[in-house]
């Protein structure tokens, strides 16, 4: 079983951070901040707060990265850490919304993966802002990192079935928004 060069580079970067190399953490921040900021912005309405959340997250990364034993677990670890920081920042409002469930049966979402294409990025970006928080969050993780349902369940701290349910309804809602936008344009 061979890994991609990028995944090996990621592990080397973590190792450099764990060895205490001066430039490693700067490289680490530069590598991840764009995607993490995008994710935080989908959770936190105010931009200034999103930057604060990201900054607080780096404080925790500096503190805890030495304890990260499995580099393959970096991505879920990082997103969970950022999410928890955002929840701490917005504890009352965010947890109230995040725990709100969609109605409906659990369904396999794999059949709906063609809901968006890469060139739809701008439409998706705007549509995400119109979706409720639970839908927005799972779709952001899905589109941003291509995460598995299991990884998302770990990050969101909910059962896998709940993630599947959220994904199903989120994709349906997104498709409706994208279709409505296309129809209004034509």
């Amino acid at each position: 079983m061979s890994r991609t060069a990028q995944s090996v580079r990621d592990e080397i970067l973590i190792l450099r951070c764990q060895r205490g190399e001066a430039q490693a953490l700067g490289d680490f921040v530069r590598q991840w901040e764009g995607r993490l900021f995008y994710y935080v912005r989908r959770l936190v309405p105010q931009e200034a707060d999103a930057w604060d959340v990201l900054q607080k997250s780096w404080v925790q990364v500096v503190r805890d990265i030495r304890r990260l034993r499995d580099p393959a677990a970096l991505r879920p670890w990082l997103y969970r850490l950022v999410r928890n920081t955002a929840i701490s920042h917005y504890r009352a409002a965010l947890t109230r919304q995040a725990t709100a469930e969609f109605d409906g049966d659990l369904e396999d979402t794999s059949a709906n993966d063609e809901v968006v294409r890469t060139e739809d990025a701008e439409e998706v970006h705007h549509a995400l802002g119109l979706l409720p928080l639970p839908a927005r969050e799972v779709l952001t993780l899905h589109f941003l990192e291509g995460m598995s349902v299991e990884e998302m369940a770990g990050i969101l701290d909910v059962p896998i079935g709940t993630v599947k349910s959220r994904m199903h309804h989120a994709k349906r809602a997104l498709r409706q928004l994208l279709t409505a936008k296309k129809e209004s344009r034509s």
């Binding site: 580079r9 080397i12 190792l15 205490g20 953490l25 995008y38 500096v62 998706v124 952001t140 291509g146």
Partner: protein, 198 residues
């Protein structure tokens, strides 16, 4: 989970690039993160550091000059003088290193603290041992020597942990370098793999 990971990876990059942060907020964040990664020493800290180095060097010079001239510098607690000076000089050397770099990388603090802990424990062990050797009370002497051995054992265990951890990270890094070279070679031969999006 899905078969369009590459497409989603591309989508992830494009989504992240669509975010348009406010420049002033991003600058403030960048400044704060920079100060998090690199803690600059204040003028007062720099002055304090150089003052300490100068003091310890002058003190060492005085002791050495007086010892060379045959004056009495060694008191009843004579073993403490060289031990204290050695510890002070070691700490001064580390302080000088930090001052010359003008900043402290926080991730670097841990190896620094590890060295300080091991050095401190050793220093305490040597001091307690010296006090034990000088004691006239046989029971107290044995107790102090035993205590010094305990401190020394803790220092040795700490040092072994640090060395093993460093060795493990070093070996892992070498293995990863080899794995990276192989992965890059494979990708050059086969083209980039799916999911390699960052």
């Amino acid at each position: 989970m899905n078969g369009n990971k590459t497409e989603e990876g591309g989508l992830g990059d494009r989504l992240a690039n669509l975010e348009r942060p406010t420049p002033s907020l991003k600058e403030r964040y960048a400044r704060e993160v920079s100060s998090l990664l690199e803690l600059n020493l204040s003028p007062a800290q720099r002055f304090g550091g150089w003052f300490y180095i100068a003091s310890i060097l002058i003190l060492t010079a005085v002791v050495l000059i007086r010892a060379a001239s045959g004056a009495t510098v060694l008191t009843d607690t004579w073993p403490l003088v060289p031990v204290a000076l050695a510890g002070g000089l070691a700490f001064a050397a580390m302080t000088a290193y930090r001052l010359c770099r003008r900043s402290i990388h926080r991730l670097h603090d841990e190896p620094y603290l590890e060295a300080m802990n091991i050095g401190g424990l050793t220093l305490v062990a040597v001091t307690v041992f010296a006090m034990g050797v000088r004691s006239d009370d046989r029971v107290l002497r044995l107790e102090l020597i035993g205590l010094s051995m305990l401190f020394l054992a803790i220092a040795v265990v700490c040092a072994v942990f640090v060395i093993v951890r460093r060795y493990h990270l070093e070996t892992r890094r070498k293995l990863l370098d080899i794995e990276l070279a192989l992965a890059e070679l494979a990708e050059r031969l086969d083209g980039p793999k799916k999911g390699d999006d960052r």
